[in-house]
């Protein structure tokens, strides 16, 4: 899966974006998740695709059990949070793009297939919030 750990560096946190396809906020969650697992913490985080969880894929369900999961949702329906819960995962922290946007009003996101500069900046802000949360979770876990 995306962001597989390097040898001897076990995954500490799973990140699950909402996968929303029709709205800008969904794209922001996806971009933020990629920033976390590809740039900021490739050794200790990974994405689990929501589509696999929806389908009940055993590997995906196992991946969200036993480790803290951080969910990123684009709207109030909270698909990522709901689906991780349905799969038996422990949602340690949940983020919504709207809340992040309220904290970063200068980053106005636009675009769906491709985000504008504001959207990319918002995704990065969200990714940094995720990183802070992941750090707190690891600290609490004594890792």
């Amino acid at each position: 899966m995306t962001g597989q750990p390097v040898e001897n560096a076990p995954i500490k946190t799973v990140v699950v974006p909402c996968s929303g396809i029709g709205k800008t906020y969904g794209t922001v969650t996806r971009e933020a998740a990629y920033i976390v697992v590809e740039e900021l913490a490739p050794e200790t985080t990974r994405i689990v695709p929501l589509s696999l969880l929806v389908l009940g894929d055993e590997d995906a369900q196992a991946a969200v059990r036993g480790v803290p999961v951080i969910t990123l949702d684009g709207c109030k329906l909270a698909c990522a949070t709901v689906n991780v819960g349905e799969a038996g995962g422990h949602v340690a922290r949940e983020f919504t793009v709207l809340d992040c946007y309220r904290r970063n009003k200068q980053c106005k996101p636009q675009g769906i297939a491709e985000l504008n500069e504001g959207g990319l900046a918002l995704a990065r802000a969200l990714a940094e919030e995720v990183m802070q949360a992941a750090g707190e979770l690891m600290e609490a876990d004594g890792s």
Binding site: T2, S19, E31, A113
Partner: protein, 249 residues
């Protein structure tokens, strides 16, 4: 008079984040939605099926869907069938690659430049399926394309009453029988506008009890026809909600 439900085709892309092919499905679906067939298509959010997206489930029950998958696990096709109805068409990125001799895409967050022809080819295939489905008759109960009939009529159809009063009459096909209900469209419009308080937790699957009560005010329903009318109202309600949710985006 309220506008009639417009037929559309739903596109369900797997959007899998762990592989380049998932990103290809997402971008191809968006190209169809935004550029190639914007008036005929809606996207359906796959995770919403499980998260309680009654509108998305209802839409996929009543309208044809095209599942677009990035790998053999076929999450989009299987989840659509599991939670709603069998997709009218199912496309796989691997099949497009093989059929057209295209390069396998690389990257996830940023696809490699040589993925563009694959996205275009997949989008073209989706658009072709949209055209086919828009021209075909679709069985809402069976989830299949029906053979063409010269006198084919939609299962739910509204028109002004022949008496000249201007009150719309909705005709619903139930087991081959046409049930006509006066003023159903404006009644459903009122019910939908008053959601969610009007029907609480029942969502879109069941029409609110008040809906049937209001229908009785405008229609005389024989005691032995109560169940048939209830089924007709439910069918019309689900179609109405599916259409509303699809235009909501």
């Amino acid at each position: 008079m309220p506008s009639l439900p417009q037929r559309k085709v739903g596109i369900v892309a797997c959007s899998g984040e762990e592989m380049a092919e998932g990103t290809v499905t997402r971008l191809a679906a968006l190209k169809v939605l935004e550029d190639l067939r914007p008036a005929e298509t809606v996207t359906i959010c796959l995770p919403l099926f499980l998260a309680g997206g009654e509108g998305d489930r209802a839409f996929a029950k009543f309208y044809p869907t095209i599942a677009v998958d990035g790998c053999e696990k076929r999450c989009a096709a299987r989840a659509t069938e599991l939670y709603s109805n069998k997709p009218a068409a199912s496309l796989l990125v691997d099949d497009i690659i093989a059929a057209r001799g295209l390069a396998r895409p690389q990257g996830m967050r940023r696809l490699s430049a040589d993925a563009a022809p694959l996205i275009d080819a997949l989008a073209d295939e989706i658009a072709a399926e949209v055209d086919r489905l828009m021209d075909a008759r679709w069985s809402r109960s069976e989830g299949v394309v029906l053979e063409a009939e010269a006198d084919a009529k939609p299962a739910v159809n509204s028109a002004a009453c022949a008496c000249g009063s201007g009150v719309p009459v909705t005709t619903v096909e139930i087991d081959g029988r046409a049930i006509q209900i006066m003023a159903l469209e404006p009644i459903m419009e009122m019910a939908y506008a008053q959601k969610p308080g009007f029907f609480g937790e029942t969502g879109f699957r069941e029409p609110p009890a008040q809906l049937m009560n209001t229908v009785r005010l405008y229609n005389t329903i024989p005691d032995d026809q109560e169940a048939v009318y209830a089924e007709a109202v439910q069918t019309a309600w689900q179609a109405y909600c599916a259409e509303k949710e699809s235009t909501r985006g």
